[in-house]
């Protein structure tokens, strides 16, 4: 497991580009993934007794793991890495919305409900 601070810049840029809609995410078995050039980012979320853990991994084109950061929103981690935890949570939520086309589907169902 990597130290989150070592890759904070990459995470921040990935979040920024995702916010701008420049990074297309797709769903896969364990979460969501996207390709940037020959690299792949994978993000996953798990929950244990009310604590949420977000894991973000980067792989090269040979499927080698370049890094993986994993943060849980427990009081200790939040005390040390609150911003990083928030960034990963936001990135996961944006990836989910992007991959599952949440806005589009919600808009569609809203239109369908209007027609009833």
């Amino acid at each position: 497991m990597s130290e989150v601070n070592d890759y904070a810049t990459v995470v921040e840029k990935l979040l920024d580009r995702t916010r701008q809609g420049k990074v297309p995410w797709e769903a896969y078995s364990y979460g969501f993934r996207t390709r940037v050039g020959s690299y792949e980012f994978r993000i996953a979320k798990s929950e244990d007794r009310g604590d949420i853990t977000i894991s973000l991994g980067m792989l090269d084109d040979n499927n080698n793991e370049i890094f993986e950061v994993s943060l849980t929103d427990d009081p200790v981690t939040l005390g040390k890495h609150r911003q990083e935890v928030s960034a990963l949570k936001e990135l996961h939520e944006l990836a989910r919305r992007n991959a599952l086309r949440v806005e589009e589907k919600v808009g569609e169902v809203s239109g369908l409900l209007d027609q009833l």
Binding site: R49, D74, P75, V76, L78, G79, R82
Partner: protein, 162 residues
């Protein structure tokens, strides 16, 4: 005549022996049940002590929650440190009366994270962290309260069976 006297003697002594054996058996049985009753009473008292100890820990955890809610972080840090060791000690001591031994392990882990969370940023606690600390306190209080209630319920159930 002496033949009949001898026979009567054997019958009387035989009956006396059997009665003696029977009375001894009765006394032995009474002794056993008295010992069991004493053991049961001792166990009931210890169960009640365990329930009381968990109730006190619950009270302590409630005060920890109150300290955090009112931003008394130094007092909270000291309380969390003490509570961590007290929950650990109770877990060891009262293990045999707990329905779910893991529950106190979980409570202790929660208190450990509260303690570390309170000291992670030199006592400067942001709102999001404070909220999480309060969530952990509530979870700890629930575990301690549940375990204490389960012990009391078991004592009551045993009393009703008597």
């Amino acid at each position: 005549m002496s033949h009949w006297i001898g026979l009567a003697f054997y019958i009387v002594t035989g009956i006396a022996s059997i009665s003696g054996a029977f009375l001894s058996w009765k006394a032995w049985k009474a002794g056993i049940s008295a010992r069991d009753a004493a053991r049961e009473a001792k166990r009931a008292v210890r169960s009640a002590n365990a329930a009381e100890a968990l109730k006190e820990l619950n009270q302590s955890a409630s005060e920890l929650l109150d300290f955090i809610q009112n931003d008394r972080m130094q007092a909270a840090a000291i309380r969390a440190r003490d509570l961590f060791s007290q929950v650990g000690a109770s877990r060891m001591r009262w293990r045999r009366f707990l329905e779910d031994d893991d529950a106190l392990g979980t409570a202790q882990e929660r208190v450990r994270k509260i303690s570390l969370g309170l000291t992670a940023n030199d006592g400067q606690i942001e709102q999001e962290v404070k909220q999480k600390l309060l969530t952990y306190c509530h979870a700890t209080i629930k575990i301690l309260s549940d375990e204490s209630s389960k012990i009391i319920a078991n004592i009551e159930q045993l009393e009703e069976k008597k």
